[in-house]
Structure formats: structure tokens, C-alpha cells
Amino acid sequence: MVDARAGQRPSPRVEGRAAGLGWGVGALLVATAAVMVVALYMALVWAPPERLQGQVYRIFFFHVPVSWVAYLAFAVTFAGGLAYLRSGRASWDRAAAASAEVGVVFTTLSLVTGSIWGKPILNAWWGWDVRLTTTLVLWLIYLGYLMIRAYAAEQAQGARLAAVVGVVGFVVVPINFFSIRLWRGLHPGPNIGTEGGLEIEGAMAATLFVSLAAVTLLYITLLVARIRLRSLTDAVGEIKARLGVGGIR
């Protein structure tokens, strides 16, 4: 099945882009590690204990940035999915899918760190608080996003179906939030994850800011790394298709 074009190299554009991303990932990794070390020092050592919660509150410096970045990741998936549906360009889909993967990981971290924080402070691993429940629902929606990609019969179709799920799933976050708040209003209970309950002073705010920078950098690093991997996978798929050695997902 080897035809005349078999000896050709993959399109230099794809290769060059992947190589460029490779350098980018390396640089980002170094930057993330540096900021992360500073953030860890500030969060675990430098910031003073909180007035009421003592040392326990320090998980807040990871829980809050991770939660924010999870929503940022899904916003990127939403925008990427929308752009993909409009333009049909695979690069938008790669960005959306990569962001969804990282978003699911960060949402998981957010739910887990929230639970760990809630146990000593509110004596419960879980509470059906508005933000918790909305986040849990969003997590489930984006698990569905990843599954529909994985189960699609062919890649382009999976990308399209996933984009629809990502767009619809994100647009309705306000309705979810509002309805869950209304539901909680009818069933009052412990309010978990109240940052408002913490007394944030100067050093803590600075620490939170640096943690947020570190976590955002980590997100960008993972995002670029996954986009690069997807470009390479697609490039390999292209080459295999040209050589006629079967498709790759």
C-alpha cells in the first residue's frame, strides 16, 4: 500500500508548530515550578495562621485558585467549542478538548480540597452548598464531554458532539446556580466553603495572589502540553492515513 508520497516528510508546518510548542512547554514548566515554589513557601510558612481556623485554613490557598481556574478552563472549552462549531478548524477543537481535560482534573482537585477543608472546619466532608453542588454538576457535564469524545465513531464527529455538550453545558451554569440556590434556600443547612467567613489580611491576600498565579501558570502549562500532544497525534494520524496503515484515534 506504499505509494509515491510515502517517503515524504509530514507537512513541515505541523512539525514546526509541534516543535515550537515543545519549547513553549519547557519554558512554561520552568516558570510554573519557580512560581509554585514561592507560592508553597508563602502559603505554608510565610502567611500567618488565621484567627479562627488556625493552620487548617491554609488549604484555602490551593482550593480557591484551583476552583477559579477550573471555571476558567471550562470557559476556554466553551469558547473553543463555539469557535470550532463556527469555523470547523481542528485547532479550536484541540484547545477546547485539552482545556476540558485539565478542567476536569482541576474540578476534581477543587472538590477534594474542599472536602478536606470542610471536615475539620464544618465537621462534614460534604454539604449541598450552592457552589459545591454547581461545581459537582459541572464536573459531571464535562465528564460527559470527555466520554462522548472517547465513544464517538470517528474523530471529527466526536469533536462536534463534544463541542455541543461543552457549549450547552457551560451556557446553563447560571440556571444551575440559581435553581440550586433556590433549593438550598428551602432546605437551610451548613454553608460550606465560605471564604467570606475567613478574615483575609494583607499577607494572606498576597499569598492568594501568588497561588493564583502559580495555579494559572500550571493550567497554561498543562493546556499547552495537551494541545501539543493532540497536534502530534493528529499529525501521526495524517501520516498513517497517507501511508495507508490504518487510522489512529
Binding site: 459541572l138 459531571l140 466520554m147 464517538a152 465513531a153 446553563v172 440556571i175 444551575n176 435553581s179 433556590l182
Partner: protein
């Protein structure tokens, strides 16, 4: 406008005719809904105190689970028989196809609910079908059908169809489930409309958003 409505009507009629011949959806979904209600009753002592508090939840869990079962058929049948391409080749806008499929599913769901809700009242000793429940059931079912039709089309295009639909659909249905349960609980408790107006507003908001959104993205889902 009338022309479009005629085309939507034709698609609805096609589904109704297929259903009349097989009676697949309405029968199996109805029986399943009753089963869920009965199983739910086993979870509680008969005549136990406070069953009224969980009753609306049990009712909507039954309707939603049964509805997911029925929704699976909406596009899986078209896929299995290979009739979806034919439907897509019809000289009608994609929105009309979506509206037709949705209206048919809505019709089947309402039929099932018309039987299941009074039966539910019989089993749990509640009012059989309070008039105030009618708009709630209509609004909740409309939202369910809108989101359900879209995600049924999404799931039907994937490899494990029957598995994917509940996984995709249930999380986005959270507002419908919450508000339907909230509003029905108020109705069963005999509260005035003012007490559950916000729930009805959430239902209307969900319906509008999902009707517009689903009709818009539907064309990307069925694209070949």
C-alpha cells in the same frame, strides 16, 4: 410560518404513526415509571410519617428515569433503521426537524404522565391530579423534551448510545428536577401559587434557554 408548522406536523405525525404501530415507547415507559414508583415505596414503611415530604421527589425521579428510557428511542430507532439520513434530506430546515422530533417526544411523555401521576396519587394517598399540577407538569416536560431531544441526538451518534444519554442528560436536567420537585411539593401541600412562583419562573427560563439553544446547535449534531 404555516408552511413550517405543516412540516413540523408531518414529522410529528410520522413518529406518532410509528408509535401507534408498535406502542413501544408509551407502554414500556409507562410500565417502567410505575415500577420506579413501586420500588420507591419499598424504600419506606407503608403509610409512614412524612411520606408526603418525599413523594414529589419519588414522582419526578420516576418520570425522569422513565423519560430517559423513552428519549433513547427518539433517535436510536432512526439510527437503527437508517432513516435519519432520509429525514435530513427532507427539504425542511434543521430547526423544523428538531421541533418535530421534540414535539413527538413531548406528546409521548405527556401521555405517560397523564396515566402515571394519578396512579402515583392512588399509591401514596395523595390528590390524584391537582389542577395546579398541570402547568408544572407541562413546563417541566417541555424542558425535559427540549434537552432530551438534543442529547438523544448526541448520544445516538456515539458508540454506546443507551449509556451515554443518561450520563449527558441528567446533569443538565438538574434545574428542571429541582424546580419540578419544589413546585409539586408546594402543590401537594396545598400552598398558593405565590409560594412556588420562583420555581415556575426557573422552569420557564430553562424551557426558553433550552428550546433556543437546542434548536440552534441541533444542526451540528446531525451533520454527517
Amino acid at each position: 410560518m404555516t408552511a413550517i408548522l405543516g412540516k413540523v406536523g408531518a414529522i410529528v405525525w410520522k413518529d406518532v404513526l410509528a408509535e401507534l404501530r408498535t406502542k413501544d415507547i408509551v407502554l414500556s415507559v409507562g410500565v417502567f415509571a410505575v415500577l420506579v414508583i413501586i420500588v420507591f415505596n419499598f424504600a419506606f414503611q407503608p403509610g409512614a410519617q412524612g411520606i408526603g415530604a418525599v413523594a414529589p421527589g419519588a414522582l419526578w425521579v420516576a418520570v425522569v428515569f422513565a423519560g430517559v428510557l423513552g428519549m433513547n428511542r427518539a433517535f436510536v430507532l432512526e439510527k437503527e433503521r437508517g432513516t435519519l439520513p432520509g429525514l435530513l434530506l427532507c427539504p425542511v430546515p434543521r430547526e423544523a426537524i428538531f421541533a418535530g422530533k421534540m414535539a413527538a417526544s413531548l406528546l409521548f411523555m405527556l401521555l405517560v404522565e397523564a396515566a402515571v401521576v394519578p396512579l402515583f396519587g392512588v399509591f401514596l394517598g395523595l390528590p390524584l391530579f391537582p389542577p395546579a399540577l398541570v402547568p408544572i407538569v407541562l413546563l417541566a416536560t417541555l424542558g425535559f423534551a427540549a434537552a432530551g431531544t438534543l442529547f438523544s441526538a448526541v448520544a445516538a451518534s456515539s458508540r454506546s448510545r443507551e449509556l451515554m444519554l443518561p450520563i449527558l442528560l441528567l446533569p443538565v436536567l438538574v434545574p428542571v428536577i429541582l424546580s419540578a420537585v419544589g413546585a409539586s411539593a408546594a402543590v401537594f401541600a396545598g400552598e398558593p401559587f405565590g409560594e412556588y412562583r420562583t420555581w415556575v419562573q426557573v422552569l420557564i427560563g430553562f424551557d426558553v434557554v433550552y428550546l433556543v439553544l437546542s434548536a440552534w446547535v441541533f444542526e451540528y449534531v446531525v451533520q454527517e
